[in-house]
C-alpha cells in the first residue's frame, strides 16, 4: 500500500479518508477483513496509535465492525456504503463548484463539458 500522508492534517483523518476512498472505489469489498492495527501501521509506516484512533473512529462511524474476538471487517451495511460514496462524490462536487463559481458559466454549459470530458476519460481507461 503506497499511501502518501501529508504532515499537516491529522494522520488518523487521512487514514479514514483513505479507507472511504477504497470503499467507494470498491477495492475494499463489504465484509473485507482489514489488517490488524500493527499490520496496517507497518504497511503505511505510521504510528500504531494513530491506526488505533482511526479504527476507533471508523467503528463509531459504522464503517467497520468487529464481531467478538474476530478481526475487524468493512461494513456490509448498504446504507453506510452508499452514504460513503455519496459523501466522497459530494465532496468532489463541492470542490468543483467552488472552483468554477467565479467563472459564472451557465449550468447547462457546465454539465455538457462535464459529460464530454467524463466520457473521454472513460475511453482512455
Amino acid at each position: 500500500m503506497d499511501v502518501k500522508f501529508n504532515n499537516r492534517d491529522p494522520v488518523y483523518v487521512q487514514v479514514i479518508r483513505h479507507f472511504k476512498e477504497q470503499i467507494a472505489k470498491g477495492s475494499f469489498a463489504p465484509g473485507h477483513v482489514i489488517p490488524s492495527r500493527r499490520e496496517l501501521a507497518n504497511q503505511l509506516k505510521i504510528n500504531p496509535n494513530t491506526v488505533q484512533r482511526a479504527y476507533k473512529e471508523m467503528e463509531e462511524q459504522k464503517l467497520i465492525y468487529t464481531e467478538g474476538n474476530m478481526p475487524s471487517c468493512i461494513t456490509k451495511d448498504e446504507t453506510v456504503l452508499k452514504s460513503v460514496r455519496e459523501e466522497l462524490i459530494s465532496e468532489a462536487v463541492q470542490v468543483f463548484i467552488s472552483s468554477i463559481k467565479s467563472i459564472n458559466a451557465p449550468l447547462p454549459e457546465i454539465m455538457e463539458l462535464v459529460q464530454k470530458q467524463y466520457e473521454e476519460a472513460e475511453q482512455r481507461d
Binding site: R8, P10, R38, I46
Partner: protein, 229 residues
C-alpha cells in the same frame, strides 16, 4: 511513564539543562528534537543515571531509578556498549548472563532481520552494522522503556528503512520509546509526541496528531516557529 521534573545540570561551567520538564508515556513514541548541544543526549543519560543532575528529579513509573530499573528501561546510545573483541554471539551470552529480561528468541529474530552473522567479531563490523548490533542489544530486552539516541545517524538509507520498520513492528509495540534524532522527516508519522528542546530547556511539548488537528501544523512547522520565529 517517565517523568522528567525540573531537571537542571551544569557541566564545566555551562548550564546544560535548565529546569527541563517533560513526560514520556508507555505505549507512545516520544521524540526529543533539538540541535547538537541542546541537551538531548544529556537528559537521556540523566534518566539512566549515567551522569548526575544538580536539581530536579526523574521518575520511572513513579520511582527513582535503582539497579532493578535496568530490567525495565534500557538506553541505546550512539556508541557501542560491548567489548569489541566479542563476537555477536558472545555479546548475547553476556546479556543473557546479566539480564533476566533478555529475550534470546527476539535477539535471534533481529539477527536474521538485520542480516548479521553471530560469529562475526563486533570490531570487524561496518559502522552501519555496528549500529544495528547496538540496536539489537537494546531491543532484545523485554523492557518497558527504550531510550534511543540518534538511531538513524550514520546509517545508509536502506538501513534507515529497516529501522523505520522496526518502529511499526511488534518489537516496539506497547513499549515507551524516547528517541532523539535530526531526521524528523523520516519519522514524523511514527511519533506520538514531540518535545522541542533548545539551549537546555523544553521549548514545546506536544502531541503531534493534536497539533495537526487543532492548528493544522506539522512538526516541522512548529519547529520553524519555535526555533526561528
Amino acid at each position: 511513564m517517565i517523568e522528567v521534573k525540573n531537571v537542571s545540570k551544569k557541566y564545566k561551567r555551562k548550564q546544560v539543562l535548565k529546569d527541563m520538564s517533560f513526560t514520556a508515556e508507555k505505549g507512545q513514541i516520544t521524540c526529543l528534537i533539538g540541535i547538537n548541544g541542546a541537551g538531548k543526549t544529556t537528559i537521556m543519560k540523566s534518566i539512566m543515571a549515567l551522569t548526575p543532575i544538580d536539581r530536579g528529579e526523574i521518575l520511572i513509573d513513579g520511582k527513582k531509578i535503582s539497579k532493578d530499573a535496568y530490567e525495565k528501561i534500557t538506553y541505546i546510545p550512539d556508541r557501542l556498549t560491548m567489548s569489541p573483541n566479542y563476537t555477536i554471539a558472545q555479546s548475547f551470552e553476556f546479556m543473557a548472563d546479566f539480564y533476566k529480561v533478555w529475550n534470546e528468541q527476539r535477539a535471534t529474530e533481529l539477527l536474521a532481520f538485520f542480516q548479521l552473522d553471530p560469529n562475526d567479531k563486533i570490531s570487524s563490523l561496518s559502522k552501519g552494522n555496528t549500529a544495528k548490533v547496538n540496536l539489537l542489544l537494546g531491543l532484545a530486552l523485554d523492557v518497558d522503556y527504550i531510550l534511543m539516541d540518534e538511531p538513524f545517524s550514520g546509517i545508509d538509507i536502506f538501513s534507515r528503512e529497516q529501522i523505520a520498520n522496526v518502529f511499526t513492528s511488534h518489537l516496539i509495540e506497547n513499549r515507551g520509546v524516547i528517541i532523539t534524532t535530526h531526521e524528523i522527516n523520516d519519522i514524523e508519522h511514527l511519533i506520538d509526541k514531540a518535545v522541542l528542546i533548545g539551549d537546555g530547556r523544553v521549548l514545546r511539548e506536544m502531541n503531534v496528531e493534536e497539533m495537526r488537528e487543532t492548528e493544522g501544523k506539522s512538526v516541522v512547522d512548529v519547529m520553524r516557529e519555535v526555533y526561528v520565529g
